[in-house]
Structure formats: C-alpha cells, structure tokens
C-alpha cells in the first residue's frame, strides 16, 4: 500500500460525525473579503462564524501581503474621481468591467484604508524613509504607485494586514472554524434556487462534518483555479493563489445561483509550475513599475506609453499624462484575433517595455538575457521596488526579498536576471499552446449580484474576487464590508429556517464516498484529467462540437471515475472533494462558453462556428444557472446596475 508510511494519522478521525452550529451571519472563506465581512457584522452585534479551509491568520490570496492598494480616489492627493476610476468598459482598457462593485470599492476605499491603519496596518511612510520622493506626499506621508500625478494607487506595507484582520476578528468575538472546508450550501426545503439558510463543511484534519445554520450567508471563497493547468508534482507551485479550487462557484452552481462571464474564465496567466517565484525575476510589471530593463550588453530596453511613443526617462513612465495606463482598444477580425491570442498572455497595460521586443531581439537589436537594472535606478526608486513593493506584495517577503538578500543579492550592485524569452518569467507563462491564452485575467466570471451584493439566491451575499472581473485586495475588503452591512440588516429581520435532512444526507454521501473505497483513483490524476478536458475542448479556439465533447468527457469522469476515487485520510479527502468542485467549475465554464455565440475581442474569446467579432447584440453579460438540474442561460444589459452615483447613494446605507 503506497500510502502506508508507518505514521498513524495524528488527528482524531471523525468521519461522518456531525456538529451543528447556529449563527446569524455565516462567512464562507476567511480571506480578505471574509475577514472584513466578519468584522463588520460583528461590530453590528450579530453572531458571526467564519468557515475557513486553511488558517485564517494568513489564509487566502491576500494572506501573505499587499503592496498596491486602490483605487483610493478619496485620499486627499488623488486627482481621479470614482466615476473616472470605473468607466465601463474602462477607457482604453479593452475589458469588460463589473463597474457596480468597483464603484463601491472606489467610494469606500480610502475609509477602509484608514480603518486598516486603525487596526495597526502601516499605510504611510512614517519613518520618512522616502522623504522628498517623487511618489510621496510629504504632508500625509502617503506613497503612490504607477502614475505619480493621479495619486490614487497607494503603496502600502501590507505584509501583516491579514494577521491584523484575524486579531480584530478574534477581539470582536467572531467564531472562527479553521481547517474547515465549506462544501455545500443549504437551501430552504433543500430546493435548487431556494433561499440560502446555511452551509455544510468538512474538517480537513479530522473528517468531521459541520452543519451551519444561518440567517444570512456571505460567500467569499475567491476564485476557481487548477482548471486548465495542474502538475501532479509541484501541485502547490503551479497556482498563483493558495489553496483555492472554486468551491464557492461549485457549491452555488449546484444550489442554483446565477453566474456571469464564466466563458471569459481561462487559465490564469500567472500559474504554471514552471515559473520562477512571482515578482522574483527582473521585470517591469506591476510591483516592479517603473524598473529599467537592460540587455546582456547593458543596452536599455525602451518603454512606450499608450500613445505608442517612446518614453525617454524613468520620470516619463510615472508621469505619463495622456499616455497613461490602459490598453489601446482595436477592432479586430477573427484572423487578427486568433493571431493575437498567440501573444495575448504577454499583453500588458501601458506604459511598459516595447511590445515588439521579441521581434527586435530576433532581429539582433537586443541581446539575451535581459536584466533588471535596479542599481541604475535612483536610490528611492530602487528601495521602493526592492523593499517596500517586493517585500509586501504577497508571497514575496520571505520567498523573494529575504531569501535573495540572505543569499547575497544586493539590489544596489546586482542585476537580477529577467527570463523574458527564456522561459519561466515568473509572471506570464504559457505551459503549452492550448493554455497560452492567459487573455487578460485568467479566472474572470462570478456571481450575478444586485445593489445589496446579494446573489440570485435570497440570503446569499457575495464579496471579493468571486464577483465578476474582480481581482484586487481593496475591492475584496470593501465589498466584504458592504455585503456584511446588507447581510446584517437582512439577518436582523428574518428567523432561522428548518434544514432539509435529505439535502444534508445527499451531501454526506457525496463527501464520504472516497473513504469507503479501499484503493482507487487518486485526486492528482483526476485533477490532471480535468485539466486535459479544458486544454483540449475549451482552449484558444472553441466550437459547439468541441465544447460538447468536453461536457461528455466530464459526465464520463463523474459517472465512471469519481465513484472509484480513494482517500486514505481526511487531508486527501479534502483534496479529493476539491477536485469534485473543479469538475463542476469546468462544467460551468464549458456551458457558459456554449452560451456565447459570437467572438469577442475584449474577452479574447473565439467561437469558430460563430465568427462574427463583437456584434453589438452580444455586448452584454451572458448569465447561466441550473434549475431543476437543467441549464438556463439568459443575459443582462452591460450596465444592468443603472446609474452608479444615484444607485450607490440609494443603496449603500451610508
């Protein structure tokens, strides 16, 4: 028996044992959105429980840090308004924008940042380390990123924000259930589409079964991942985010909630087991803006702005004016769109280094390898990149900054190699042709919500990355707070409902199947097969035939292989249950891809059987849900939330 290592499982094994918990507000996923939600609801005097698969003290995508925070339009130095920050689609960005929740983010962003400071978070250069710097306001001691004129993206020291949120949750008496993985939503009468009245969960150390009964529930389990890309070895290394498997999507899909934009979800350009540590190679992107890159002979790689003009100085990159961040939107034919997909994973917002770098290297203008010229930057720019930004970004303090420094790397003396064109750039990396469409964002779809951030299931609210087109820390914090205000109000006016024993038993049968087998398919092989389905049948080019074969493959795996899955202990059981969620997420993405019958430039979406590119009729959110276990698709206007300013004023409750 390969699993018999001779060590007895160190925790009590409590398979099928039931523990019931009653709470007013139930938070599923104790990440950034979940912790802010719990804090907000607890401050209103409600009984709050967090269900967290990892350890809340540092779990989730924001658990190991945040270095850029925004759109902080209300900070006293910003020259940008909330309306400007969230234009839909944002001017020149070439993407669909879920403007409703991003507007909420912009409106409450600065207050939330100040609240973070109250909890002990460092948001200002209080030691005057950067006094007089171009990116600093010497009165408030705030520091800014990217565009030093607009001043609405803050540089913050967020490496310890998550432990601080955790402490605040504990101080306020939030009940935290760590190592407890939510697996299913409970609905009134056990019905698909019914009011959400709680959730069930599995402890991934003991196998114990939890039944949470709640008045209101907030789902904040972030994104789906491991749908296109999974390595059976290095399984932790090939994800950008820690420990996520799309559980929030899968359980709500089964429960009948409506999703949108899932057809845009694709392999995250940030995940492949073959990369170097993120932000740990010489580059010019994101955290590393505005670092200079040089070639093997020391020749500088030019930067250009959105207007296509070369920027001569470092200062131009951070004072871009009209050539500022964003992307040129162009009308394309299918052929152009397809040609574009080949390099879409490398497309980045401008200003950045020249996009035709590859051709110019081949033509001999620049010599590989390239390096980040930190020593050539001014001391302040160098130390804000290698120190404040790399150091707080998330998964960088220990893995990059400290590890590199301890090994002898000196940012004032040494050129950190870039892996552009060598493989493993540490950021954008296709692992095989079918997976190269990083497109814009990777996982992109999410819950359809109203102005209360309530999903289409009554009593279920959604916050954070699980909303469509949502990927940022402050957005998670603010929407967590907002959803909790709404959920608390709802919970205060409703009583708990009777749970459906049948629904609970169904869920138990689903979860504990793999422990009843004595041998069989293990989770990694399953996960890899699910990825193969998506690589082959939901890749760069789609048509109905391909997508349907994908769905058939998934049905086959579900019917014939899942019953043979084997989990010898609660940890492996947890991983196996994740794979069941991945299967449902794949299904949701395939079904959504079938529902969009047109190509879209903004979504890097190609249906060869529907070759019209961006026909106006399809400029809308395609929605999808299950009703009586059948697929129901529909659509919503692109700005279904109506006027942002007046609706926010009406609904925000502030």
């Amino acid at each position: 028996m390969i699993y018999n290592t001779g060590i007895e499982w160190p925790y009590p094994v409590l398979y099928e044992k039931e523990t019931e918990v009653d709470t007013d507000v139930l938070v599923l996923g104790g990440g950034i959105a979940g912790c802010w939600a719990a804090i907000t609801a607890a401050k209103k005097g409600l009984k709050v429980a967090i269900v967290e698969k990892g350890a809340t003290i540092s779990s989730g995508s924001g658990g190991s840090g945040v270095d850029h925070w925004g759109p902080c339009v209300n900070n006293p130095c910003s020259t940008v308004t909330a309306e400007e920050a969230v234009q839909s689609p944002p001017k020149g960005s070439g993407m669909y924008n879920f403007a409703m929740s991003h507007y909420i983010d912009a409106k409450e962003n600065y207050d939330t940042l100040l609240e973070m400071e109250q909890m002990g978070g460092k948001i200002r250069d209080t030691e005057d380390e950067f006094a007089g710097a171009d990116f600093r306001d010497d009165d408030t001691k705030f520091m800014f990123a990217y565009d030093y004129d607009k001043r609405y993206r803050m540089r913050v020291w967020g490496a310890n924000f998550k432990p601080l949120l955790y402490e605040e949750c504990k101080r306020l008496g939030v009940k935290i259930y760590d190592r407890t993985m939510a697996t299913g939503l409970l609905t009134e009468g056990g019905k698909q589409g019914g009011r959400c009245i709680g959730a069930v969960a599995l402890n991934v150390r003991t196998g114990e079964f939890f039944i949470f009964r709640s008045k209101a529930t907030i789902t904040s389990m972030a994104k789906h991942q491991r749908n296109w890309n999974f390595s059976t070895e290095m399984s932790g290394l090939n994800t950008f985010r820690p420990n996520l498997s799309g559980a929030g999507y899968a359980m709500a899909w089964r429960a009948g909630a409506t999703f949108t934009h899932m057809e845009m979800s694709k392999r995250s350009m940030l995940s492949s087991g073959q990369t170097f540590p993120f932000y740990g190679t010489g580059n010019s992107f994101n955290t590393w803006v505005p670092c200079t890159l040089i070639d093997a002979d020391g020749k500088e790689i030019p930067w250009i702005g959105r207007d296509g003009n070369v920027m001569d100085s470092v200062s131009d990159r951070v004072h871009p004016g009209e050539a500022g961040r964003g992307r040129k939107k162009a009308e394309k034919t299918v052929a152009e769109l397809l040609a574009d997909l080949a390099t879409a994973y490398r497309r980045r917002p401008l200003p950045d280094i020249i996009p035709d770098l590859e051709q110019r290297i081949i033509a001999g203008e620049f010599k590989l390898p390239l390096y980040a010229d930190l020593p050539g930057m001014t001391e302040q720019e160098r130390n804000v990149i290698w120190g404040v930004m790399v150091g707080n970004e998330g998964r960088t303090r220990t893995p990059v900054l400290n590890t590199y420094n301890e090994s002898g790397f000196d940012s004032s003396r040494d050129l950190l190699q870039s892996y552009i064109m060598l493989g493993g750039g540490g950021l954008y990396e296709p692992s095989m042709p079918q997976t190269r469409i990083g497109g814009d964002l990777g996982p992109a779809g999410g819950f359809v919500v109203d102005w209360n951030l309530m999903t289409t299931l009554e009593g279920l609210y959604a916050a954070g990355d699980t909303l469509p087109m949502s990927h940022t820390h402050s957005h998670a914090a603010v929407t967590g707070k907002y959803a909790a205000r709404k959920a608390s109000q709802y919970a205060s006016n409703i009583s708990q409902a009777q749970l459906s024993r049948q629904q609970i038993d169904r869920e138990k049968a689903r979860l504990y199947g793999p422990i009843k087998n004595k041998d069989g398919m293990e989770w990694k092989e399953l996960n890899q097969a699910l990825c193969r389905v998506m690589q082959n049948y939901c890749g760069e080019v789609k048509n109905e035939e391909l997508l349907n074969i994908g769905l058939t493959w998934l049905d086959d795996i579900e019917r014939n292989v899942i019953p043979t899955a084997y989990a010898p202990n609660p940890h492996i059981l947890g991983r196996t249950v994740e794979v069941l969620d991945i299967l449902d997420c794949n299904r949701l993405i395939l079904q959504s891809s079938l529902a969009r019958k047109a190509c879209s430039t903004m979504m890097s979406f190609v249906r060869l059987d529907h070759p019209q590119v961006d026909p106006p009729d399809w400029h809308k959110w395609v929605t999808i849900k299950q009703q009586d276990d059948r697929i129901v698709t529909d659509s919503l206007p692109h700005d279904y939330w109506g006027d942002l300013e007046s609706n926010y004023a009406k609904h925000s409750g502030l």
Partner: protein, 98 residues
C-alpha cells in the same frame, strides 16, 4: 529503519524539501503546522521532535511557516533548484544564483 540495510521506497515527490528544519533549533511548538495554508506539515508523533513534512509537493512557498516561527533560523524556505534565479554583478559581470 536500520542504516546498513537497503529498503524499497517509492520516489520522492518533487519538490521534496520545500523547507528545511534545523532540528537543533526547533522547539517543536508546531506553530508552522498551525499556520501553513496548505497543511503541508503534521505534528511529529514523537513529542519534542520537529514536525514532519508530509505533503511537500503541495507547498505554495508562501513562507508563513518562516514568518511565524518563534525561533530565528529554525525553519528556512528552500526554493526548488529549478526556481533559483540568476543575477549578475553589474561592475564585474560575474554570474551568481540565489
């Protein structure tokens, strides 16, 4: 296991040593077991001994185990060899790796 015998063992997963624990310094407080997001460790059945790295291949290299360890140097992140980035000294052109 006896040191002078040869055993049949399966291959190690890759990477197999995501962290290195200094058994001399480790106080077996199991803080790393508590904070690891992926649940890579399990407590050692022998009291007072460092935790066991059970699911090495699941390591996300986030570094919480190092960040929260109460003893400086007792646990170190050990980036897999293929993830070691190279760098060049600007003045001399010498090449190094992390």
């Amino acid at each position: 296991m006896s040191e002078d015998k040869t055993y049949a063992v399966p291959n190690q997963p890759t990477p197999s040593r995501p962290v290195i624990i200094d058994a001399e310094l480790c106080i077996a407080c199991n803080k790393c077991v508590e904070v690891c997001q992926m649940d890579v460790f399990i407590p050692n059945p022998e009291k007072g001994k460092p935790p066991i790295i059970m699911y090495a291949d699941e390591c996300w290299y986030g570094g919480s185990c190092v960040d929260f360890c109460p003893v400086n140097g007792a646990i170190k992140l050990n980036q897999p060899l293929m993830q070691r980035v190279r760098y060049k000294r600007k003045a001399t052109g010498e090449h190094f790796r992390i």
